[in-house]
Amino acid sequence: MDFAKLLNALPGAASQGVIWGMMAIGVYITYRILDVADLTVDGSMATGGAVAAVLITQGVNPWLAVLCAFLVGMLTGLLTGLFHTAMGIPAILAGILTQLALYSVNLRIMDGKANMAVNVNKYWVLVSSRNVRVLSLQNPICLTLLLTVILIALLYLFFGTEYGNALRATGANQNMARAQGINTSRAKVVGLMLSNGIVAFSGAMLTQYQGFADVQMGRGAIVIGLAAVIIGEVVLGKFFRSLWGKLLCVSVGAIIYYFVMQIVLWLGLNTNDLKMLTALVVAIFLAVPYWKGLAMTRRAGRGKEEKHA
């Protein structure tokens, strides 16, 4: 095994990790703050990529393109939110419905093509994987890290406001939130919009980074997002209690995830098996707290029996 080969792959893994980390922050908002598992992201990630690809290849300023991706992403969240709150569809199913619909929408956006190139030589893009080993501000890590910091700062501020607190209360205890006069349905819709806006933004950055948009590029995004959230919590969760710290953990979790994937590939695993591996890792990490709980109740039960005897 050639160790240099692994080292060579790490900068790319880091860049990808930072970009997917922003997506994972979007997942954190729904999964951890709003307590909703939102599967829209698999579709909205690609939607963001498709919007950016189409706009950039038409000569639109890439900043404007990512802003548009963010706004269109919010619309996808709005759709899921309305499915859930106005039509009473369970959140998971609402997300799946939007995700399915977005497959067609994304193809429409890209004019029926499943794949659309954004050539870094022809168009102005914000980040590109070509510069991943360049030691300058051109390096995609610089801008994506900066954007991550700004994103975390903005979210930290938002969740400290009156409305941000109302969103957190909705996720923490819906009955209590309603008793305090919070419109929990609207709070969920707003949360889903914010989350999917961020996810689409991340998709727009990924499209520029990899030089193409693909209708499949969001497949499994929710699982990767969950992996980042959980890895971040397990590895660094102890050290951070504030929201900005937790969001930072998510971003770091995504980077760790991509490092691990690179190592696994380097060890000789087939690329096609990565998604299966991701699913298994997430399943196990999700099971750990459950198993811990079981062990705890058993121990407590045994203690009681002993007392009786």
């Binding site: 938002f158 400290g160 406001t161 009156e162 409305y163 941000g164 607190n165 109302a166 957190r168 209360a169 923490a172 205890n173 009955n175 209590m176 939130a177 309603r178 008793a179 305090q180 006069g181 919070i182 419109n183 929990t184």
Partner: protein, 265 residues
């Protein structure tokens, strides 16, 4: 202050689990009334409170709070008029949020929540500290602690305080001491009376404890099969005893009270 005009509510109508929870509930409270609500399981006590709170729409009748017909208002819109404490200490507070965050949420009940104003201000913090200090539980020194770390009694005391931070037109207490041990329950009841007196609140308190029902409040009502069957006015209540209540119940409902959960002493 509160007019419940002949409301009815049937859950799961037309199914095998159909339940006529409220048949024809009618109740009128004056400003400053503190009414205790008793009755057996399934009598409709909690359902009536939840109907007032807007947890579900009623099938018939209407509800007027302080001259405002709220029958068609959603739960979160009615919240501006109501303070609520629930039976389960978990329900009234957000466990994952801190004490001061919970209080700040309650301090904005019924108000517009802006994304451009801070969720808690320094001024509020000092006010919360003073309010918490009066509970005598030491919570004023733990304002940054997650509410999930508090005991059931502490959470109920906090919920009570939260319900009265913004003076409600009506305070709804749904067996809020039922999940507590007797000593803690007594403390929380004491606090309840104190807050109601200090803020001159109108309140409804559901309880399974007849002694509490007699000891607290100026009025007492008894529910049975979705109706208010006994309504003891303030003049009468002071001299009322448990035996009188039982007699009244048997007389009006035409049956003996057979409920294990109803505490007689």
């Amino acid at each position: 202050m509160l007019d419940i005009n002949h409301i009815a509510k049937t859950f799961n109508p037309g199914t095998i689990t159909e339940k006529k929870a409220l048949v024809d509930a009618d109740l009128h409270l004056q400003d400053g009334d503190f009414v205790t609500v008793i009755g057996g399981n399934g009598a409709g006590k909690s359902t009536m409170l939840n109907a007032v709170a807007g947890v579900f729409p009623v099938d018939r009748g209407n509800i007027v709070i302080d001259g405002e017909d709220v029958t068609d208002l959603s739960e979160h819109r009615r919240a501006r008029l109501l303070g609520r404490v629930f039976q389960d200490p978990m329900t009234g507070t957000a466990a994952a949020m801190t004490i001061e965050e919970n209080m700040a949420l309650a301090n904005r009940r019924g108000k517009h929540r802006s994304p451009f104003r801070w969720g808690i201000t320094q001024k509020e913090r000092s006010m919360f500290r003073d309010e918490l200090a009066r509970l005598g539980l030491g919570l004023e020194n733990r304002m940054q602690a997650k509410v999930g770390l508090l005991s059931g009694g502490q959470r109920q005391a906090l919920t009570l305080l939260m319900a009265t931070l913004q003076k409600p037109q009506l305070l709804l207490l749904d067996e809020h001491t039922a999940a507590l041990d007797p000593k803690t329950a007594a403390k929380v009841l004491h606090l309840t009376r104190e807050l109601i007196q200090d803020h001159h609140l109108t309140a409804m308190m559901v309880t399974h404890n007849m002694k509490d029902a007699l000891q607290y409040g100026n009025r007492i009502i008894m529910m049975h099969e979705g109706r208010v069957i006994v309504d003891v006015e303030p003049e009468m209540k002071a001299s009322l005893r448990v035996e009188n209540l039982l007699e009244m119940f048997e007389h009006t409902s035409g049956g003996k009270l057979d409920n294990d959960r109803m505490l007689l002493s």
